[in-house]
């Protein structure tokens, strides 16, 4: 299959698609997939990843460079992904996505958000009789909106993801992850990776599907790598619950407020 350096019909790279679809770990998987696709690294049957020597040309991103630097000595598959997912390069990638307004700081939803909404509606109705309650209605409705929370992907980010057509194996990893399946085939098989190796990666909860034409129709990103969630405080390390998206940080959903 072709080696893509950009997701087709989008302005984002496969790594960025991976980040949008599954957070920093997915982006790391995507970078590794690209290196495998380009023949710059190889994986052995027992899951050891090593750099292919004398072919250090062909690296296209900072995350890929970081992975290769980490592979001066062979490293096992899962730690390669985990380390890249928590790297400074991955944080920079997250900042790029924020700068492109494809991601934002996620905000957790408060359990009682609907109470504020209900009060706001009641006050709004009451304003028909007592106009002064309109101020309270606006306040409660605004607070309900805020407490509903925000998913990490912006509308533009979701649109990019929906436009992705994962028709090569690197983008397939970006969208589905190495542990995913596509057309009844394990994604890892596209790279000849044994399942025993692929299954060392943490399983990511399948996101809710949307109506998009691409395989990435409604996936949602996890929070940022190594503090990429900004001030939300969700996940300051790659091994946190935020790692693969779909977490308590708000990843995995198609919609935000």
């Amino acid at each position: 299959m072709a080696t893509p350096t950009e997701a087709r019909d989008t302005r984002v790279s496969p790594e960025q698609v991976g980040y949008l679809a599954g957070g920093p770990q997915r982006a790391a998987e995507t970078a590794l997939a690209r290196l495998l696709d380009a023949g710059l690294v190889r994986v052995s049957r027992n899951g050891v990843v090593s750099a292919v020597h004398e072919t250090d040309l062909g690296v296209t991103t900072a995350v890929e460079t970081g992975i290769l630097v980490n592979l001066r000595q062979p490293v096992r598959f899962e730690p390669v992904v985990r380390k890249a997912g928590g790297s400074a390069e991955m944080r920079a990638l997250y900042q790029q996505l924020r700068a492109q307004r494809l991601m934002r700081t996620p905000r957790p939803r408060l359990g009682a958000w609907w109470v504020f909404l209900a009060i706001g509606v009641v006050l709004a109705l009451a304003a028909l009789l007592q106009p002064w309650t309109l101020l309270g209605a606006i306040g409660f409705l605004a607070f309900a909106y805020w407490s509903y929370g925000a998913k990490p992907l912006t509308k533009a980010g979701r649109a990019v993801l929906e436009a992705v057509d994962a028709d090569d194996r690197v983008l397939t990893v970006a969208v589905e992850g190495f542990r995913g399946r596509i057309r009844n085939q394990a994604v890892g098989d596209l790279f000849g990776l044994p399942q025993s190796v692929v299954k060392t990666l943490p399983r990511k909860k399948k996101p809710r599907r949307g109506k998009g034409r691409g395989a990435a129709s409604s996936a949602g990103a996890g929070c940022g790598a190594g503090g990429g969630c900004g001030s939300s405080g969700c996940g300051s390390s790659s091994s946190s619950s935020c790692g693969g998206g779909g977490s308590s940080c708000g990843g995995g959903g198609g919609g935000s407020n």
Binding site: R42, S44, R45, N46, G192
Partner: protein, 272 residues
Amino acid sequence: MVGIKDLGVGIGWRSEIDLTVERLPGVDFVEVVAENLHIGHLPESVTLLLERGVPVLPHAVSLSLGGADPVDLHRVEHLGAVAEAVGAPMVSDHVCFVRAGGLDSGHLMPVPRTKDALDVLVANVKLAQANLPVPLALENVAALLEWPDGELSEGQFLAELVERTDCWLLVDVANLYANARNIGTDPERFLDEIPLERLAYVHVAGGEQHGDIYHDTHAHAVLPEVLEVLDELCSRVAPPGVLLERDDNYPSDTEIATELAAIRAVVDKHRG
């Protein structure tokens, strides 16, 4: 040739490149380092290759048959057990010693080419053969020095070894090339002197020049000059097998495939 069937073109199986070896086109046989395998749990990749019918030949590096120390029969038995586990038609080691006086050199040390050293080697080889279930082939090593007072050329030494032990020869053309560069061995004379009818198979490997020394690294590309030595050998005899050895700095699958194709081209050229 009795006992050694046509092997074709192969590659040294290493765990780091196991998936590469599995998917490379045109790998007719593989060689495994016997000391890296454990009886009872062969690597999944080796099992897979065996299931595909790919011959797997154990290659030892630690028998130290050229040494004055007694042969370690546990190592010989392990080599034999690996051969039986993979159904190998033969096993191999080197004409060298790797330990002496309780010290391990960590390197394949050349044997002095004297009658006395040959007597020791012959006795050790016969003992190993008596404890192995399959024929033994012995490989010429690359040397950075020659011991003083040598009485035989390398080819004569190997020829007499074969005559006295009935062992097979594993000719490493990269080692031969290295010796030509470093200690002045004449590859053509070497090939003239050894009994080519006892050739089991051939090793091909890469190396690198460092200053005045050519290092048989097995970690660099195969030089055209090494393929020329293979060509010279193939002009004299059709080798039962030729194997690419790579032990480190593994290149891309494409580069490995290209090296295998280059080896096959040399072999096929002489087979018409």
